[in-house]
């Protein structure tokens, strides 16, 4: 662990430090020199059209995708120097996916306790106790012994968040976690994320929920074709975007939301 090497405050490297990160799928370049700095306890929202690189960037931060060029440092630990212990690193960085990806052959409780027990070596009793406490916090304690297919999408996604939290991560990556949900299930998930933000969790959130981004984010980044085209405080990005592409994107999203509201 690198507690000593994780300077806070101004001057030192940020908690999450991304420099010149590029990524190709075959001949298609999906990330084009991403730079991003995030202080600890901050929430950064990534917005942008599908295919703009938001998910890929998050997957690179968890080394689910190999970074071909550039540098990523999280909590003082370089991810991209080739010598990193991927498994150790992932224990500190939780990721939640759009499709929940709960393990269908395990109960909710087993889903939440698997990684703490097997990757951290926590005793079964202790990990179950902690898992139940987390489930209680999100009001799903009575679902502990159910299988995921008995839960609604919103419940499954909240379990997926708790599953990541059970590892005690210092950074959470949320990849469009409400995109697969029915509209009436979105708010439960978002309020859990809001709670996390208030508790000081450092988060990078790829989202299409502009209202949520505006409310929770310390910084919003607009991605376009693999680049961060514009970044700034939410108020600035949403009220007064500098780039024409950002304006265009936001007005399209706004129209879509209006259309949805009418329908």
């Amino acid at each position: 662990m690198t507690e000593a090497g994780s300077p806070n405050g101004s001057g030192g490297p940020a908690f999450v430090h991304v420099r010149g990160v590029s990524k190709w799928f075959g001949s298609l370049q999906v990330l084009k020199g991403i730079d991003l700095d995030i202080p600890e306890h901050n929430v950064v929202c990534l917005i942008g059209a599908s295919g703009s690189g938001k998910s890929t960037l998050l997957r690179c931060l968890n080394l689910l995708e190999r970074v071909e060029e550039g540098e990523i440092v999280v909590d003082g630990q370089p991810l991209t120097d080739g010598k990193v212990d991927v498994n150790a690193l992932r224990k500190k960085i939780g990721i939640v996916f759009q499709a929940y990806n709960l393990f269908p052959h395990m109960t909710v409780l087993q889903n939440v306790t698997l990684a703490p027990r097997k990757a951290l070596g926590v005793q079964r009793d202790r990990s179950e106790e902690y898992a139940r406490a987390l489930l209680r916090r999100i009001g799903l304690e009575e679902k502990a012994d159910e299988y995921p297919d008995r839960l609604s999408g919103g419940q499954q996604q909240r379990v997926a968040i708790v599953r990541a939290l059970a590892m005690g991560p210092k950074l959470m990556l949320l990849d469009e976690i409400t995109s697969a949900l029915d509209p009436q299930l979105v708010s439960d998930v978002l309020s859990l994320v809001r709670e996390l933000a208030e508790s000081g969790m450092t988060m990078i959130v790829a989202t299409h929920e502009m209202g949520f981004a505006r409310e929770v984010a310390d910084k919003v980044c607009f991605l376009d074709a693999g680049r961060i085209l514009e970044e700034g405080a939410p108020a600035q990005i949403f009220s007064n975007p500098r780039e024409p592409r950002t304006r265009e994107f936001l007005s399209r999203v706004l129209e879509a939301e209006k259309a949805e509201g009418l329908g």
Binding site: L64, N87, R90, F97, N101, F103, L114, A119, L120, M167
Partner: protein, 238 residues
Amino acid sequence: MHALHQVLHQFFNPHTFTLAMPDVWAGFQINLKIMVIAEALVLVLALALAIVRGLPGPAAKPLRVLAIAYTDFFRGTPIIIVAFFIGFGLPGLQLGFISNLSIITYGVIVLTLVYTAYVGEVYRAGIESVHASQRAAARSLGLTYMQAMRYVVVPQAVRRVIPPLLNDFIGLQKDTALVSVIGVAEAAALAQQFSTKNGDFVSYLVAACFFILITIPLARFTDHLVAQREARERAQAF
């Protein structure tokens, strides 16, 4: 009328049927023994083969190549030829313990070698059918590759492949009769002896009945599992 009488007498004579039963049953016990041991070995070895074949990274390439070569060889070679190789070849080598095993053990080895190749492919199909996002979720939680396989991928894969796997086991059960070619005194071989001695073919019917009797429960059990899974998938669709 005479022809019909001939057929009944040669194939279906109840008296001869009863006479042949003890002989053929004695042989069939050997079939049972071979199938149970071979099936247990195949279950484990085939899974190992499938996992080795799926190992990632350039370092594991020699292992992957070996696994593919193994599968190609034993899936492509007729069982009877593998039986000659093992049953006559290994004792002929005079390699100490390997050359002094019982003939039944050679029979078990033959079926295990061949069916591990088949069932390995069944497991592999199952492993590949588990969506990559499951593995990504497991790895993202800090589990190692092998932990992700053990706790997340393989349990789901095995559940999915139980019906085709049991189907292969029905094949294995019948193929225990093939190892008679290396001199195992199993049901088919003893039925043949009885047939020669008695001058009719009723003993083959006895042997066939034994094989069918143990296959039917397995076949129905397989059907049941398939139906159960379909019902579950229909329920999920709603």
